[in-house]
């Protein structure tokens, strides 16, 4: 009789995550979703003010070639006590630069649990799920969840309006000269 070869346990799928704080609250994001980490000061020179009605969480936009990155205040997005963010996460494959307090640490996530179905409002767009780390539970954010298509349309319209008024202002100055 031949015994079946022992099955090698397959290594558990892991994911590198960055733990960060927004208004004191801990969140996680997949490190693969973060394209750049910048200090908020380094971006302030290039940022243009923008005002989309009803969208207080975005106050600035940064132009990068033909691409616009909207700076989302993390505290306002999550409805937390607003604090001055110190760092920006430029999120890959999105038009979002997320303003956060700071990075806590890097960690390895071994299991992502789906958000329980009892959570049934906007948080379902905000989070990919929850993970247990060091006897604590941390929500793992969805990089695309910071700006909905409707919000992006609002921001694009506000940006166009800002561009038009800037162009009109420039024309006026030129004709005055």
């Amino acid at each position: 009789m031949r015994l079946a070869a022992p099955v090698k346990p397959s290594p558990a799928k892991t994911e590198q995550i960055i733990l960060f704080r927004v208004s004191g609250q801990l969140f996680a994001v997949s490190s693969a979703s973060v394209q750049e980490v910048r200090s908020a000061d380094s971006m302030s020179g290039a940022a243009i003010e923008i005002n989309a009605p009803g969208l207080r969480k975005v106050r600035h936009v940064v132009r990068r070639g033909d691409r616009s990155l909207f700076i989302v205040n993390g505290a306002m997005h999550f409805g937390l006590h607003a604090v001055e963010g110190a760092l920006l996460f430029v999120l890959r494959k999105t038009r979002t630069a997320l303003l956060i307090d700071g990075i806590e640490k890097m960690a390895t996530m071994t299991r992502l649990q789906a958000l329980p179905l009892s959570f049934c409002h906007e948080e379902r767009q905000w989070y990919r799920g929850l993970t247990a780390l060091d006897q604590s539970v941390v929500p793992v954010v969805h990089p695309e969840g910071f700006l909905s298509p409707e919000e992006l349309a609002l921001l694009d319209a506000a940006l166009l309006e800002a561009d038009n008024s800037a162009a009109a202002g420039l024309e006026e100055t030129e004709s005055a000269q």
Binding site: F27, F78, L117, S118, H121, E122, E123, W126, V137
Partner: protein
């Protein structure tokens, strides 16, 4: 009591919230546990306090005291871990209770149409008439969110 009458009896867990007692069908209850640390994070679902870690699972804590008593109870003695049915899934939820729980066998009187949606039925025990709770309508879930959104849309459409 005859054998046939005995067969009709069902098991219920009696739970205490403040001064009142409520019942939940025992087959929905997984366990009764001492309060543990609640992990809170931002969300927009009312009645959800956060989550607890239980046997490696993340279990949402649903406070039902405000709906049932009209006021929020901050003291809690146990969490009743119960199974909540969603459209195609079942998940655990933790319900904070303020006193001891008791397992009883009794028969249930069906709820009337005029009863609140969270009332699955009524039972009589120790001279009290006790509401049997329907956790699927009492605690938040996608169907409640949909109903809330529809109601909000209707309210907006009104002149």
């Amino acid at each position: 009591m005859t054998v046939s009458a005995e067969l009709e009896l069902r098991s219920f867990v009696l739970l205490r919230l403040g001064e009142r007692r409520f019942a939940v069908s025992a087959n929905q209850i997984a366990e009764l546990v001492a309060p543990s640390r609640i992990f809170r994070f931002p969300h927009r679902t009312p009645k959800l306090e956060g989550v607890i870690l239980r046997r490696g699972r993340i279990v949402p804590v649903c406070d039902v005291s405000e709906i049932l008593l009209g006021k929020r109870l901050t003291s809690r003695r146990f969490y009743l871990i119960a199974m909540r049915n969603y459209a195609t899934q079942r998940e655990w939820i933790a319900i904070p209770v303020t006193g001891e729980c008791e397992l009883i066998n009794t028969d249930m009187m069906a709820a009337a149409e005029s009863d609140a949606p969270h009332v699955a039925g009524w039972l009589s025990h120790d001279g009290d008439v006790i509401e049997v709770l329907n956790l699927d309508t009492l605690t938040p879930g996608p169907e409640q969110a949909l109903a809330e959104a529809t109601a909000a849309q209707r309210a907006e459409a009104l002149p």
